[in-house]
């Protein structure tokens, strides 16, 4: 090389993954083996090792089996058993399918006995509509119980989907309509493009920031800062490596006060009953 370029680049940008100075609570983690490719950190102890390496304090974990079992509640019971020694680090997000027999009893068990912090719904995977009366009944019930509903706009990148097993995304408009139709229910919107939700008003929702790169325009960043209470941190670990989601907050021009809100404060406030 002839010459070394001179730049005004950040001096500590490659300091090791994430800063430990800000508490981080991940709203979108999984436990279990993803069926379509090799997955590491599938058990609680190893997931916590991954979290420690990234300075992630706590993670809300959804059981992968809860997406693929027909009787999803069996996965909730497995999850509860798996994380019983790790309750301070791993917060259970149980899965409910409102079209499956016994779901109300299962929901009660999730909340009363398993300590579910939120209920994850997978309408496209479990073949129902968010607009269906059954789903409406579940969402109303969650509102009365002060338990958030977790929705994933996207579960798997459609470009990488399996030949025969396709998981359709939920359309942002459908999520927006649902959030608006159930103002007393709290929603955590995961793996979504935040800019599709600019028109969403109210305070009954949070959206994870993981698909928002630091190339956001000034106008959009202005909106983010103005709506800072609506954003949260999600990684989809261990299916995805969590560091990119950390960088998207840490390397943005948001100050520490705003970063704290996204990394943890907003979610913890939202999860408190």
């Amino acid at each position: 090389m002839k010459a070394k370029p001179s730049h005004k680049i950040s001096s500590n940008t490659l300091s090791n993954p994430g800063s430990g100075s800000i508490r981080k609570t991940d709203c979108n983690a999984y436990l279990g083996q993803w069926p379509f490719r090799e997955t590491r950190y599938t058990e609680p102890a190893s997931l916590i090792e991954l979290m420690d390496s990234m300075h992630i304090t706590q993670a809300c974990v959804t059981p992968v089996n809860g997406l693929f079992y027909k009787d999803v509640h069996r996965a909730n019971l497995q999850l509860s058993e798996m994380i019983k020694e790790y309750r301070t680090r791993l917060l259970p997000f149980c899965v409910i399918n409102p079209f499956y027999p016994g779901w109300k009893e299962d929901l009660q068990t999730c909340v009363d006995r398993l300590g579910a912090k939120a209920i994850a719904l997978y309408p496209s995977l479990h073949n129902y509509s968010l607009q269906s009366p059954q789903c409406g009944e579940l969402l109303t019930l969650l509102g009365s119980m002060h338990i958030p509903a977790a929705l994933s706009e996207r579960i798997e990148d459609e470009r990488g989907e399996h030949w025969h097993f396709k998981i359709p995304n939920i359309k942002p408009d459908e999520i927006i309509r649902t959030v608006q139709n159930f103002p007393k229910t709290k929603f955590i919107i995961r793996d979504a493009f935040i800019l599709n939700y600019e028109k969403l008003s109210g305070k009954n929702w949070l959206i994870d920031f993981s698909r928002t790169d630091i190339t956001l325009s000034h106008a959009n960043m202005k909106w983010v800062k103005k709506s800072i209470d609506r954003f949260t941190f999600g990684t989809q670990m261990p299916l995805k490596t969590p560091l990119p989601a950390i960088y998207k907050i840490e390397k943005s021009d948001m100050d520490a006060k705003l970063q704290k809100k996204i990394f943890s404060e907003n979610l913890l406030k939202f999860l408190s009953r």
Partner: protein, 266 residues
């Protein structure tokens, strides 16, 4: 891994926007801003027309913008020449012109299948100049996606081409650009001269480690293709030594740049 004076980071697959596009100034400023925030020293970029099967006038205009950006940001921006291979003579002239202006490679889109003979004169030209060809690529089983990109390059086309031109320097674009990256890395494995860039928004936890395991550390090039935090985060969190990360971050790409006839532009 910590930044040191010696750690050079070069994004091997980037873009800036043509001056005729709306808001190009802001888009381009965002790219440079992200480079600053993530400590990326340089980016090898191309400027692409909206319609990739464009006329020579259109690709010349894009390349003129690229040359301007290279001059405006002399120590930050390296340029790839973009051409539509369908205009063979004009494309060959343009590659020479861009090379003379200091560009470091050729960027191609899937206007044609990569192993289509229409590419042969271009590949021969790049061999003569000692520069790489970066090809938009991917493998997906999503029917709608593949219908939109029927000629998209996959490992088979790369292998066909490298068999015909073993001296060529080929880079398979964005193994993290969406699609079955496991298919891509396993498919590319026999083509020991073919590089793969790591860009794209896909950050599957095992992507980088598996790519290193399958292709070897010397064939991977760090890149973002505008997904900056995804591009950086997946390399930084991979289970690699600092020495291996440095190879991906710039060492392997510098080796490519050093093959340029007349010497590296660095």
């Amino acid at each position: 891994m910590h930044t040191s004076e010696q750690t050079m980071i070069i994004d091997a697959h980037g873009h800036l926007w043509p001056k005729e596009s709306k808001n190009y100034k802001e888009y381009n400023a965002q790219q440079l801003y992200a480079m600053d925030r993530l400590g990326i020293n340089m980016a090898a970029i191309s400027v692409l027309p909206e319609e990739k099967r464009c006329t020579p006038d259109e690709f010349i205009s894009c390349n003129n913008d690229c040359i301007r950006y290279m001059r405006e940001h002399k120590d930050r921006i390296l340029g790839y020449c973009y051409v539509n291979p369908g205009y063979s003579e004009a494309a060959l002239r343009e590659i020479d012109r861009c090379f003379d202006a200091g560009m470091i490679g050729v960027k191609l889109y899937h206007c044609y299948r990569f192993d289509d003979p229409v590419h042969f004169p271009l590949i021969e030209k790049t061999i003569g100049l000692g520069i790489p060809v970066l090809m938009h690529a991917g493998v997906s089983y999503n029917t709608a996606l593949m219908e939109r990109q029927p000629n998209i390059a996959g490992p088979v086309q790369f292998l066909n081409l490298i068999k015909r031109y073993p001296e060529a320097i080929l880079i398979e674009g964005h193994i993290g650009g969406g699609g079955d990256w496991e298919h891509v890395i396993k498919g590319l494995k026999p083509g020991s001269q073919i590089y793969a860039d790591t860009s794209g928004s896909v950050v599957d936890e095992t992507l980088i480690d598996r790519s290193v395991e399958t292709l070897g550390i010397d064939r991977l090039l760090y890149a973002n293709d505008c997904s900056f935090c995804d591009g950086m985060g997946k390399i930084m969190s991979a289970h690699l030594s600092d020495i291996d990360k440095k190879k991906i971050f710039s060492g392997n790409f510098i080796d490519i740049l050093n093959k340029r006839k007349g010497g590296s532009v660095l």
